[in-house]
């Protein structure tokens, strides 16, 4: 039901051709599209109803993300509606509630400033937040801050005296310099320098030295939704590929008649089925037993990553030369799959988590 509604809206408002236009224009955010999504309750998908949200839950958020993935729709959905909203929901004070309301209405966007090295590793955060009077001073560098160039606010992970602390600060605060990255997927990501940036106790989200209580659920929600987006992306690429196998003729016949290609396409479909199961399970676990959802989430992200990688590789290969051209959309799927693979932990990162949780 939700999937059909989302599909209907996205086919009209955010087809792949719309993404191509944005890419050609160097545009990484469509304010009107995001406003429309907010009006449909997508920005508030994880925001409680008393804060103006639609509170549909994680499984629903995954459905929306998957449909966005199919046509490569660009929006701050994952950063803002999924991750920032989930982080803010862990905190029950008036300020968080107001922030959630502003997310639901589409009036504010967020980016998570977590990564510092080339790989996702929150525990290795080196950026310092030095105690300064009643507040803190943040200094250091963040990288691969998705949606970081345009976001109104940043959730910044930094090291404090006894652990890690999460700060919720406006992106234009004095001492913050944002460098927009020229990403292969033509989406917003930034490197951000923090030079003695002031943060008050008010800016701390959750408790000092206990960032993970707030950040872990947010990251898990983001990982699950990103897995769903990648599953959608795989489905989109797969649909194009099977369509091409049915129409492209060589040696006097449709190439989809060749068993070598049939079996590869069939194998890929099997992988997409396994991936779909892992993602449904992640959504179900996040909604019903979030404390114990780590295995389900890492499984979904790992599986979705490997399947998306296969889907875009087979997509390009089975299209042949045309798949390599910029004029054809398959390349967009391949580049987004690559970025999605890295973001919020790559295959190895999540495979290690699965292994640890399964006892080897």
């Amino acid at each position: 039901m939700l999937a059909d509604m989302a599909r209907g809206f996205l086919d009209g408002a955010a087809p792949v051709s719309a993404f191509r236009k944005m890419r050609d224009a160097g545009q990484t955010h469509d304010a009107k599209l995001w406003k429309d999504m907010a009006d449909m309750g997508w920005a508030g998908v994880l925001v409680p109803e008393d804060a103006g949200g639609s509170d549909m839950g994680f499984a629903a958020a995954n459905v929306i993300a998957r449909e966005m993935g199919k046509t490569l729709a660009v929006s701050p959905f994952l950063s803002t509606a999924v991750m920032a909203a989930t982080a803010l929901r862990q905190v029950s004070d008036a300020r968080a509630k107001e922030a959630l309301a502003r997310i639901a209405s589409g009036d504010v966007t967020y980016a998570l400033a977590v990564d510092e090295g080339i790989k996702h590793d929150p525990d290795a955060t080196a950026m310092e937040a030095k105690a300064d009077g009643n507040g803190f001073r943040l200094s250091g560098k963040k990288t691969f801050v998705v949606d970081g160039a345009m976001a109104d606010r940043l959730l910044v992970l930094a090291r404090t005296a006894e652990g890690l602390t999460l700060f919720d600060i406006p992106a234009d605060r004095a001492g913050i310099t944002r460098h927009k990255s020229n990403m292969i997927d033509a989406r917003d990501a930034a490197k951000i320098d923090f030079d003695n940036v002031e943060a008050t106790g008010e800016d701390v989200l959750g408790q000092v030295d206990s960032a993970m209580a707030v950040l872990r659920p947010a990251l898990q929600a983001g990982q699950a939704a990103l897995a769903a987006e990648m599953a959608g992306l795989s489905a989109g690429a797969f649909e194009m590929t099977v369509g091409y196998l049915k129409e492209r003729k060589q040696f006097g016949t449709e190439i989809g008649r060749f068993q070598a290609l049939q079996h590869r396409a069939a194998h890929l479909w099997c992988e997409t089925e396994l991936t779909a199961s892992a993602i449904l399970n992640a959504g179900r676990m996040m909604d019903s037993d979030p404390e114990n959802a780590e295995l389900a989430v890492s499984l979904a992200k790992a599986k979705a990553t490997s399947t998306a990688t296969l889907a875009v590789q087979e997509g390009v290969q089975m299209h042949g030369g045309i798949g390599m051209t910029d004029a054809y959309d398959m390349g967009f799927y391949m580049k987004r799959a690559r970025v999605g693979s890295e973001w919020l932990g790559d295959y190895s990162y999540h495979a290690e988590k699965v292994a640890a949780l399964r006892g080897f």
Binding site: V242, Q262, H267, W269, C270, S277, K303, A351, V354, R358
Partner: protein, 388 residues
């Protein structure tokens, strides 16, 4: 169990029953081929506990939990069966009875059989009294299964059957065989086949085990020479046996990729790696992690398809996916278990048990019940709609 019982009460009752009734010897391990109880007239119980466990389960309908009570089952819903498996897994209880009657003939009879046939054939299957085998493949009908040549000549009140079947699993120990027999040589190949039930003790039935690379002989050749088969020993309509065969193959595919086996296999791999973790190279461990991710996803997929089936949406042609992915995964897992076992896994019945035999046995998984290649062709043509 009563219809109005809550899931919690159902679970509590079941747990209490299992606690009292599942013998200690029937708990933990025993998933390998040697620990299975197949039943039938020729069955020798490997222990008193195995016999007791079967009898107690059969009395409750637990050998076939979802079959109707009238036919020897417990009439469980899908949700109840899920709880049943969870509670069985919790104490690592062995499956009390496995058989081709449960996996294949039973579902086919439930779907195509008359009430009289169900009453006659299903309860003995549920009690483990009659063991069935499958007569499908022939020397000239492997992947091209509909090419069966075993012939049944219409003699009025019976068919006179002549021909040869191959890969008839455990035919040498079975009491009965369900076989595909050509009863109309003029019709197109899919439309001249009947699904017949034949007693292995009938005059003219002969069977011979085939020794396999695993050292065991789970498969046989079965010969029919002027075997008389009464006209009521047919499932479905004459010459429409292919419909029954296809329906049953769907079950076979789901069975071969079965979630129970996968879950048990996952545990086995985890345990093996855990014991030898400090001796394994990083590459092997990484391969195992990939396998584990696929195995968990496969398990979830089986659950999802079962839920859909319960909701009235059968897997249909997508069962080819379950069979293909499940068996390829199982082969991968056994390759890993062999690697993890190192030289200890190279001896027949050595320190790590019959690991080599189990490994070799898995190589048949992607051949029996339709090869991986046939499964991929089914998916590409019937699911993806690619041209034949």
């Amino acid at each position: 169990m009563s219809a109005g019982q809550t899931a919690e009460d159902f679970r509590a009752d079941l747990r209490a029953w299992l606690e009292v009734n599942c013998p200690d010897e029937m708990r933990g391990g025993g998933a390998a081929e040697g620990g299975i109880c197949w039943g039938g007239r020729n069955w020798f119980f490997t222990s008193d506990a195995q016999k007791t466990w079967l009898e107690r389960c059969a009395a409750k309908g637990y050998t076939v939990p979802t079959w109707p009570e009238a036919y020897g089952g417990a009439g469980m819903t899908r949700d109840q069966e899920k709880i049943f498996s969870e509670e069985m897994d919790r104490i690592e209880a062995r499956t009390p009875l496995q058989s081709f009657g449960i996996w294949m003939l039973g579902p086919a009879l439930l779907h195509f059989g008359s009430h009289e046939q169900k009453l006659e054939y299903l309860p003995p299957i549920a009690r483990g009294e009659v063991r069935w085998c499958q007569g499908y493949s022939e020397p000239g009908a492997g992947s091209d299964l509909a090419n069966v040549q075993t012939h049944g000549e219409d003699k009025g009140d019976h068919w006179l059957v002549n021909g040869q079947k191959i890969w008839t699993s455990y035919a040498d120990q079975a009491d009965q065989i369900f076989a595909l027999v050509r009863t109309d040589r003029e019709a197109p190949k899919h439309l001249g086949i009947s699904f017949l039930l034949i007693d292995m003790e009938d005059a003219g039935v002969e069977t011979r085990p085939i020794k396999m690379i695993s050292g065991i002989s789970p498969f046989c050749e079965t010969f029919f020479t002027d075997v008389k088969v009464a006209k009521d020993r047919i499932v479905g309509t004459p010459n429409r046996g292919w419909d029954v065969a296809k329906y049953l193959l769907t079950h076979e595919r789901e069975m071969i990729s079965g979630s129970g086996a996968l879950e048990a296999g996952g545990r086995a791999l985890g345990a093996v790696l855990h014991d030898t973790l400090d001796q394994l190279d990083a590459t092997l461990r990484a391969d195992a992690m990939r396998c584990e991710i696929d195995a968990l996803s496969m398990g979830l997929t089986l659950e999802r398809y079962k839920d859909q089936a319960e909701a009235g949406q059968g897997a249909g042609d997508a069962s080819a996916m379950l069979k293909y992915m499940g068996t390829e995964l199982n082969k991968k897992r056994h390759e890993l278990m062999m690697s993890a076992g190192g030289s200890a896994a190279l001896e027949w019945d050595g320190d790590v048990g019959n690991r080599a035999g189990d490994w070799l046995r898995t190589k048949a998984n992607s051949i029996e019940g339709g090869t991986s290649e046939v499964m991929l062709s089914i998916v590409s043509r019937r699911v993806l709609g690619l041209p034949a």
